[in-house]
């Protein structure tokens, strides 16, 4: 089995190394390395998946030893089971399609080889994250995918917004990862091991309080990575990155790592109980919160970004109510339709020469038939219309919420579903239908994307359309739930007879209601271009301002920290900074004054500080006696 595992990370890694060292020479041929490396990884992953699926064979074992220190051992353990096999397929499969798409999208970019180097590095890291068999390795690649994401968001670094967004993503993620790291350490201290199988076997012995602390700390990391409240702010800004990156990292794979981690560690969350409730509520609140912001955004990628945050919220709600398989299933279908939405959006942006504002689109359906069709498939899927994939997975989550007695979660989820249908069809109606609001320049530029971009769209559209077959309710749960059962037990309470179809009907009605509302507002009587997106009331302003979370953080954390830092610098360094810094430039003129200040003030200041320290040390020692 090992021979089916190691090539999956090794191939993209080899691709990365080749691109790093020979990228310049390869230039515009860089995809000849990147695409096959990820493609082959997908083939191997498929083979591994089939082994797991057909024979039920799984593998856990060390690839090599990493840290051994006395009683502390952290080998590079990989684990291939039903859960990681599904994730691997998504990562390498969607990854492969997006690599192909990027050939067209990034064509002619000066950083072409660099782009593919980062992208394959990401695939490697993500594969390792999924394969990791212990928490330390998980943490390592958790950080690594964050780094790749940061590099790719800031890929177009000449745009200051891109560089800032990259930095923001990294820092916000560090806040979450701070919790994650503490959780891992606490776990090690409590159990003395970080291996999945050992941890999960011993988790029931943990005191509830400890388990809750560990689970919540881990979940803090998940909140950062998966952009859940209150750490969601980085994801919309991350849209500054190239669109394939948004599709792969910020929609389909990396941001779902949090969901994967919670599902993987569900034993710990269950042990705590409270933590699982927290996951469910944070998830569903995020779902509603982000969906409501999505209602009024005008940037096509930002709408999709808020939609992603919202859908991730649904996944957390799913795992939070104990429907792990449903959460993972939604993760998979979401990977299909959201990647498709992003890639189709990228196709539009490509066609319009960089235009991202839906107020300046309209009537694109005639000129971009393939893009429109595929986008429509994805939109129907995310809105939750049967028989498309999104319907089954979302319905599964809502049904589980209902069945487990989380009626509040169910109600909020239903409302969020209505929002979802509304915002996505608002986007569809404004962008593809109705009168054209394009400016002349863009209209002339308008063209359907090349096949290298549209073919991946087609594949994803097919998957979005038929992905529902895994979620058809059967006698013993859905097929995917049955498949994942060895890892993720689905002991969820059964619905009463007839409740299932009733809930489905309600969900469909809600989605149709949302679509109808969007149709009434934006298509039946087209709104004049200049009135689109103009806030009409306070709520609208609040939503447009994204609830002003960024501003709040800026005032609460960023500005005080900078102020403290500057204060310290001034008090402790009394003019030396600018003194010595500028002194090098205009030496003669400044040195007399600078040196005097330095010489009169500082040696004395420094010695004074030392004496203060000495007195305090002695005082404490003598007092302690």
């Amino acid at each position: 089995m090992v021979h089916l595992i190691w090539p999956i990370p090794a191939l993209p890694l080899a691709g990365t190394l080749i691109l790093v060292f020979f990228g310049r020479r390869l230039g515009a041929r860089a995809h000849w390395v990147a695409v096959p490396s990820v493609g082959l990884a997908f083939v191997v992953a498929l083979a591994a998946f089939l082994r797991v699926w057909r024979d039920g064979e799984t593998f856990t074992g060390p690839l090599l030893d990493w840290i051994i220190a006395g009683d502390f051992r952290a080998p590079v353990t990989v684990q291939l089971d039903q859960l990681s096999a599904v994730m691997l397929l998504v990562v390498t499969g969607v990854g492969f399609l997006i690599h192909v798409y990027s050939i067209g999208y990034m064509h002619g970019d000066p950083g072409y080889p660099r782009f593919f180097a980062y992208l394959t590095l990401f695939v490697f890291s993500m594969v390792m994250l999924v394969l990791a068999g212990n928490f330390l390795l998980l943490y390592v690649f958790w950080e690594a995918v964050g780094l790749c994401s940061y590099l790719l968001i800031g890929f177009w670094y000449t745009r200051p917004a891109a560089a800032d967004a990259g930095k923001k993503a990294f820092i916000v993620n560090r806040v979450g990862d701070f919790g994650f790291a503490l959780g891992v350490m606490l776990l090690w201290v409590s159990l003395g091991t970080l291996e999945y199988d050992e941890v999960f076997a011993q988790a029931w012995a943990l005191p509830t309080g400890t388990a809750t602390a560990i689970a919540l700390l881990l979940f803090a990391g998940a909140c950062g990575k998966s952009a859940q409240l209150p750490l969601h702010t980085w994801l919309p800004d991350a849209m500054e990155g190239p669109t394939p990156v948004s599709a792969l990292i910020h929609a389909a794979t990396m941001v779902t790592a949090g969901v994967y981690m919670v599902a993987r560690a569900h034993v710990l969350f269950e042990r705590s109980g409270v933590a699982l409730e927290v996951v469910a509520w944070v998830g569903i609140l995020t779902a509603l919160f982000a969906a409501s912001i999505g209602l009024v955004q005008n940037d096509i990628k930002r709408i999709l970004a808020y939609s992603t945050i919202s859908q991730l919220g649904y996944m957390f709600a799913g795992v939070g109510v104990g429907a792990y398989a449903a959460g993972i299933y939604h993760l998979v279908t979401h990977a299909f339709f959201k990647a498709l939405l992003f890639l189709a959006a990228g196709s539009i942006i490509h066609a319009l020469g960089g235009e991202q504002d839906i107020r300046r689109m309209g009537g694109l359906a005639r000129r971009l038939p393939v893009t429109t069709l595929t986008f429509l498939v994805a939109a129907v899927a995310i809105a939750g219309i049967p028989p498309f994939a999104g319907f089954f997975s979302k319905d599964e989550i809502l049904a589980a919420a209902w069945a487990s007695g989380h009626l509040g979660v169910y109600a909020l989820g239903l409302l969020g579903a209505a929002f979802t249908a509304f915002y996505i069809f608002r986007l569809v109606f404004l962008a593809f239908f109705g009168p054209s609001r394009l400016d002349a320049e863009a209209a002339r530029h308008l063209h359907e994307s090349p096949p290298v971009m549209t073919i991946p769209l087609g594949f994803l559209a097919v998957l979005s359309a038929i992905g529902g077959v895994w979620g058809l309710p059967g006698e013993h749960g859905t097929p995917i739930a049955r498949f994942l059962d060895p890892v993720l037990p689905h002991g969820e309470a059964a619905l009463g007879p007839g409740t299932g179809p009733l809930l489905m009907a309600v969900a469909v009605a809600t989605a149709l209601g949302g679509i109808l509302a969007a149709w009434r507002m934006y298509l039946r009587r087209p709104v004049p271009a200049e009135r689109l997106g103009v806030p009409s009331n306070r709520l609208h302003v609040l939503l447009l301002g994204k609830y002003y979370v960024d501003e709040l953080y800026d005032a609460l954390f960023v500005r005080p920290l900078v102020a403290v830092s500057e204060w310290c610098a001034r008090v402790f360094d009394l003019g030396v900074i600018d003194g010595l810094v500028n002194g090098a430039a205009d030496l003669v003129g400044r040195w007399s004054s600078v040196l005097r200040r330095v010489q009169t003030g500082l040696v004395m200041n420094y010695a004074l500080s030392m004496l203060v320290g000495a007195v305090i040390l002695l005082g404490l020692l003598v007092r302690w006696r």
Partner: protein, 100 residues
């Protein structure tokens, strides 16, 4: 007989005067001399404590400290001379106007 505590108390007083000297003076040479005063006070403490314990070790340590002090003076004065020299090139008036 003078109790050893008197010697050590005296050494503490001298040490503190040296510390204060480092803090209140502006001339590097005087600061440096104050530091010598501190070392000297430490030496006195060593000898007094050695006397109390009836050992010669305290005295031997003082011998080493003296050597170290001599080495320190050589280096320290070289640094001070060097800085004065370099600054002379910038501005001769600086030399006497410069305050510590």
């Amino acid at each position: 007989m003078v109790p050893v505590g008197y010697y050590t108390t005296l050494s503490a007083v001298l040490f503190t005067i040296g510390v204060v000297g480092v803090l209140v003076r502006r001339n590097p040479l005087v600061i440096f001399m104050s530091i010598e005063l501190m070392l000297n006070a430490a030496n006195l403490a060593f000898v007094a404590f050695g006397r109390e314990a009836g050992q010669l070790d305290g005295q031997v340590i003082v011998f080493f400290v003296m050597t170290v002090a001599a080495a320190e003076v050589a280096v320290g004065l070289a640094i001070i001379v060097a800085i004065f020299r370099a600054r002379q090139r910038i501005n001769v008036d600086d030399l006497n106007l410069m305050r510590w």
